[in-house]
Amino acid sequence: MKDMMYAKTIRSKIVKGTIKSITIPPLPEGYFTVSREDILSKNIVKIIFEDMPYYSTGEINHLNEPIMLVVGSDMEIIKQIVDEIKIEYSEENGVFDESQKTIAYHFKKGNPKRAFKNAEKVIEMTYHTGLQEQAYIEPQGFIVYEEDEKVTLIGSIQCPYYVKNAVVYALGCSSDQVRVIQAAVGGAFGGKEEYPSLIACQLAVAVKKVHKPIKLIFEREEDILSTTKRHPSRITLKAAINELNNVTSISADIAIDGGAYTGLSSVVLSRAMIAVSGAYTFENLEVLGHVIKTNTVPNGAFRGFGAPQMFFAIEMFMHHIAKETHQDSFAFRMRHIARQGDKTSTSGTFRDPILLEDLIRVATEKSKYHSKALAYSQPGIYKGIGMSIFLHGCGFTGSGESTHIKAQVKLLKTKDGLVHILVAAVDMGQGIKTTLPKIVSQILEIPIERCIFNYPDTDNVPDSGPTVASRTIMIVGGLVARAAKELKENWIDNLEQIVTKRYVQPSYIKYDESKFKGDAYPAYSWGVSVVEVSVDPITYQTKILNVVSAYDVGKEIDERIIQGQAEGGIVQGIAYGYLENMSANKGVIKQKNLTDYIIPTTLDVSKMSTYILDNPYQYGPFGAKGAGELTLIGGAPAVALAIQMAINKNITKIPVTPEYVMELMHDDD
């Protein structure tokens, strides 16, 4: 782009405190600093919980908090200016424990009090999960430019309208003055859900000051040190056990670390809390959840969105209960699995058929789970096999789809018979560039080449919602399918035609967000993962030997794309369980680049087999439900259970690193 300027972010060097002074050297002509003084309207990133400024207010709450941008045309000169800017702080002690709570939720199902009173036995355990970095393909970045008054942003993003709405809010301008275009985006895993809005607001303010195009691309290290990650959690579970050795009630106390700003944490917490039952049914529940505020980098969206933490805890716990009550863990879990007609954790109903028994049968047979579990229970073999059973609620939690998102899609048929799919959903490698045209082409019975899906541009596409929450195929694809059906019925050759569809909540879905009561999701996808490992007693390293998964995602729109989601998801989930290790010491993240933050390579995974069982959902296109997040969720509990079997010790936290395995294996030395 002509006259391109570059921007570099100045970040705080302390974890908590206030800025005492900022000294900026005299700037050469054409060089600018942009900070809160330049803000035209609000200094808040519009996310669900509005507490995060995009330029520091002067109060520092985490290390590497953005303070200002240095903007100019020569990157070398920018670098010099950045080095010469001096900031003095008055430092305070940060908080890193659970003492600062920002959000508190609570819900109940049935009568947990009575269940605990009548319990034969009560079992309690506490589980911890760590940070996980999305390690998306490319770091965060945008190009912004101004045409007349209008601000256009091209970025690596998952949610064009989130960015647009945030910028409109930050500039205090009208909606037609902001345009957001998706650049080619690689696997983003949630990391490009809310965070890009922050950079977009900074840049929108900057472009209003310098009136030239600006490019801001993070360095990988800068990205890891300053952007959102998966919330660490502490989950305490208590079970009431009756005389039949069944669980009559679970009481859960959950704390997720939101970091310095709350952002999306409340929604992550809801999903974690709702997942408290795992893929089981418990008659009675008491669930308490908190978002805690610490002086670390804010945490945010990441594939699974609170569910992976909870599924790790509940799966380990179910296994633990079986052990403590001297029963076969498999039989015990089978007695508790959710069945059609059961009440969900939020007292809604599992209306659709549940294929768990079939999924479990397929996964256990193909992995030889039973015979291996028996063989590996002998000491000295150092092998283990673990099975996780899980579900994922598709789409936004609760009535989010109908109250917050209100998705709209549009099909535009041109005179020459090309059908443009106009939605705000982005393809980031998950394949909707294939699947959405495939849906339209099948319904319209036209060649797929005539169904056009381009990267969304908010000037051309309606707001079909963010590309998150495993909602794109089921919700957006469902609307696209409905629009295509209508277009087919009214198709007139050589005429431009437009069909628009809006999301309508299935009438049976009723949910009370404040009480956590009713159907939290319109539909659920289900899965079973079996992971087999060996643990080296010399180095305490885990080797993945085999992975078998079976899923119900309604109906595959494209077999290979589901295969891709399944394999990528389980690898990311297993790695969350044993390999990917990120920790912060008093707000300082220790693994700051991809040398030290280890993600798996192909050599770290084994053969993976995936089986898909059809279970069409009436509102999904061709019966499809969500598949994007589901496949990650079972990875961590399955690998942790397998390692637990291999070393015959209780695992209570992930990642199960070799260092942790060593500690466990020598806990009685």
Binding site: E219, I538, Q591, I599, D604, P658
Partner: protein, 279 residues
Amino acid sequence: MVTHHIPSTLEETLKLLETNLYQVMCGGTDLMVQSRSWANTVPKLVKPLVFISQLSELNFIEETPDYIEIGSVTSYETLLNSSLVPKVLKDTIIEIAAPGIRHVGTLGGNIANASPAADAVCTLIALDAIVEIMSSNSIRTEKICDFIIGVKKTTLKPNEIIRSIKIPNVEHDYANFYKVGGRKADAISKVSLCVLCNVKDNIITKFRIAFGAVGPKVASNIKTDELFVGKTIDEIKNNIDDYTKKYASLITPIDDQRSTKEYRHKVALNMIKAFIETL
């Protein structure tokens, strides 16, 4: 204006280095990472560079009765494909990085960079390799374990270059390299170990161990190694814990972003023990 040089001869290279103004760069796989800067801007180099990977005089593998001599700019990939390179060094190299890095990375760089986690250095120290160092008017040799003096520190002077690495041409009954990294490829060692051992009539005639990533430099101690020499395998196996523990004081790791000192210590000792059990 900074000028970097790509000399075509060793002589020219050494002449440039006499000015003490330059740093040499070979594969650049350590140097460029250490000099990284904002993408699309000039790397943060301490000194201008003299490139050496193109010097054919330093790209060779030769066998003499006493040594296998390897030119310092010979790439890992070339070494892997050579029949002259000792197997244990190849076993080490195959654990370094990934094919792309091995295409350009070199022993010279691994040694001069003097990281305590350098894998090839670990094996070369166990092999008692000798480094040949050159300047425009001198040539000297030093045992690699003396050449490296601390974290990122060597006895190399600004006008000097590593010319070659000489590996004593001796056979070993056992020559193993073990690397423990965060994952199976492309990982920096949390702890590594090279062990060489000869046995005659059930009696140990040579024992040599070097450990990576357990202290400020690759650790080895010939005195400790010698405690094994002359002992029968049974003697050592029957007192395996005592013998293993003889290395405990040599292993002085730290906690860092990759692992803990307890883990490194324990695993290093476990690996020695596991090796002894294979005898």
